[in-house]
Amino acid sequence: MDFIRYLPDALSAWNLLILCIGTIGGLVLGATPGLSPTMAVALLIPFTFQMPADSGLILLGSVYTATVAGGAVSAILVNIPGAPANIATVLDGHPLAQQGRATEALHYCFISSLIGGVLGVLVLIFFTPILANFALKFGPSELFWIAILGVTVIGSLGSKSVLKGLFAGAFGLWLSTIGYDPVMGVERFVFSSYLTGGINIIAALIGLFAIPQVLGMLESAASGGRISEMYDLEKRSVWTSFRYNISRVRALTIGSITGIIVGLIPGAGGQIAGLVSYDQTRKMSRDPSRFGKGEPDGVIAAESANNAMVGPSLVPLLTLSVPGSPTAAVLLGGLLIHGLFPGPNLFTTHAKVTWTFIDALLLGQVLMAVFGLMISRYSRFVTRVSNNFMAAAVTVLAVFGTYSVQNNFSDVMVMMTLGTAMYFGIKLGFSPAPVVLGIILGPIAETNFAQGRLIAESSQGVLPYFFTGTINLVLIALCVGSIGYSIFTEVRAARRRKGASQ
């Protein structure tokens, strides 16, 4: 019970202060589009140079926890995911806000984040020795199949029809091939020097979600429609939300378990955790048609998943120095600067620092929920800001957020172009979520396939390499199941329509 022994260290006045600052700062950074958890942690590392090791790590850990949850705030209130991990939150979170239930949606978001997050850290505390080697079982073939599993949910994600969803997903996959290919070393589809670096995920994310939103707001203002969407000021007690949230056992379980598994796998990140758990929750729901129109279960599944990922993503990091997520990779730098080399030593020689850090992660989850729920009360005012001001503010945030990712003006051009195209795409019934998913999964699938093919050609051959091995087979079965179930529900829905019309 080492983690209880070192709990008082995490609770010292100084460390608690840092924890609070990190959490509040993280919530704000996370809610800013463009400032992803990875960026936030990377930019803070130099500030920890002068701090004692435990305080520095507490700051980084609390920021990591809070930014992941904070990204949901802008997702719910203004339909722009704060980070790729919050894409699935948009799908039902924003419709809830449009129905005047923004505070309620934020309550679900923070309560589910707390539950998922605590479960994730508990996995880190109790199962680290058992799960340490799990990460090493994942090579190119396994990661390829994980990406394909992600691709299977594309079609049904937030689109009116499966066909349009697939088209949007394929478009996203194509966008991801633009730029320099890291395995073959060639440039593809680079027609202009703006595209040398390829399509940055964050730039695409902001463009595809924010710009259509801005144009839509301007359109409704210009056509003389209502200047702002007015609702009665929503009053909802945290306790009511909490009781409802706890009763959604299925969404919470699917979300947390998916998040934990994805966190343990290096190379996959929170975005996949949120999307896969959202999709599974919908498929297992009694009435999947409610999703995408403001179903609380969608928010609960997505947010419990992306926070459940935080703890387990540190398991391979602390034991093998193999990070379980991009943010954990940056955190590795933070550990090294304080002379903490991942490995068994971390839990013996440096036990004090390590356990203080893990305890702080646990406390960080609680503080994140407390502060988050406090902020939620004021969210109702955001929904009352007039469209004109909102459009201006979102545009500024979008340009600023995009430029800050890589300090590159090309990204702003890409963001604006994709966003304007998406505005017309939405009018034709396409949805931004599958496009972004395509951009995220494309490189994972392609790079790992290319690497796997190189390895396979020097050994047993391509087919046996990708189609043997327990993990490969399990993942293939999951892919087949995912596609099969989609077909089954489509056919059933079509039959019902037929039956109803007769």
Binding site: A135, P140, E187, T196, V322, T447
Partner: protein, 330 residues
């Protein structure tokens, strides 16, 4: 009336332009250089090894003995460094306020292999801060116990040995090419995105061998066998027992060592370059910098401008020859 306004506007415009040029040019005057913070472009993402080290070595810049102004890190990542360095060579102002971090052999190898806007002729090296040699690693349970075992197996089974490394035309790839050439064998190189997955695949047995950074291999030494180091001498501090390739009878030199340092764009005034070349090595020698670099397991190797220039020239000649075969294939 309209014409009068136009003329007045024109006048104001010319005055503004003149003012701007004056301000822009005043930055170049070396006497009071530097009078504002200096940007250091890093062509990799925040949190990567280059970014991490650049932040450490530049943290003391504001001290009057060094530059007297802080250095601000600006990350422009993409295409393995090409986006940032292309921008640097074509758009950076040569006024001493826009410097960049270089990685060797990446900068030179990329300028040979790709259609880049940079090459050693339009970049001015200032000073080198670090050197991370590549080491040949295999998993703990691998049948190979020495470079000789690996070479013998590769001779019998050409192309069957998979070797992971952190991407194309980086130090690990150059080391693989050198080993192939020197030992007369054929290997299959698997480029990954960064050094971490390359290491993970070796430990997990997904590839048969790998080239990786000395510092990362050292940290994972419990799970690896480190067969040889691609440098001119052994590393006494971290891996005193690991032989160099030359000791193993294979002619692989230090061309794959990952050197990191600071450079300026061509056209930077000589007075400014001289000032930087004199002060920056001193800044790298700061005790606090050395302590942080050591804590992070990053080997320091400080070289002044003359030494770096010589090294760049040697690399250019050698890499052009080594990569010429690959270039012809295209």
């Amino acid at each position: 009336m309209n014409k009068a306004i136009l003329r007045r506007l024109q006048g104001i415009g010319i005055a503004l332009l003149a003012g701007l040029t004056f301000f822009a040019s005043s930055g170049v005057r070396a006497a009071d250089y530097p009078d504002r913070p200096i940007s250091l472009i890093v062509a990799y993402s925040p949190g990567g090894a280059t970014d991490f080290q650049a932040r450490i070595v530049s943290m003391m810049a504001a001290k009057p003995d060094y530059l007297g102004q802080p250095m601000v890190i600006i990350n422009k990542p993409g295409a393995g460094g090409q986006v940032g360095w292309n921008w640097f060579a074509s758009e950076a102002k040569p006024n001493g306020y826009e410097l960049a971090a270089y990685n060797l052999p990446h900068v030179i190898a990329q300028s040979i292999m790709f259609d880049t806007k940079y090459n050693i002729h339009n970049l001015i090296p200032i000073a080198n801060w670090g050197a991370d040699p590549a080491v040949l690693i295999v998993a703990k349970d691998s049948p190979f116990n020495s470079v000789k075992d690996l070479v013998a197996y590769a001779k019998k089974h050409p192309g069957k040995i998979t070797v992971s490394g952190a991407g194309l035309y980086v130090g690990h790839h150059i080391a693989t090419l050198q080993l192939e050439k020197a030992a007369g064998i054929k290997l299959t190189y698997i480029p990954t995105k960064g050094g971490v997955p390359a290491m993970q695949y070796v430990i997990g047995g997904k590839v048969m061998a790998g080239f990786n950074n000395l510092s990362d291999a050292y940290r994972n030494r419990e799970r690896l066998k480190i067969l040889a180091i691609a440098d001119l001498q052994r590393n006494k501090e971290f891996l005193p027992d690991v032989p160099t390739f030359k000791e193993e009878g294979i002619n692989v030199d230090d061309s794959s060592v990952n050197f990191r340092g600071i450079m300026a764009p061509k056209g930077t005034p000589k007075a400014v370059v001289d000032f930087l070349a004199q002060r920056i090595p001193k800044m790298f020698h700061d005790k606090k910098v050395a302590a942080k670099m050591k804590a992070g397991g990053s080997p320091l190797r400080i070289m002044d401008q003359a030494q770096v220039e010589k090294m760049w020239q040697r690399r250019q000649v050698y890499l052009t020859e080594l990569l010429s075969k690959l270039r012809k294939k295209k």
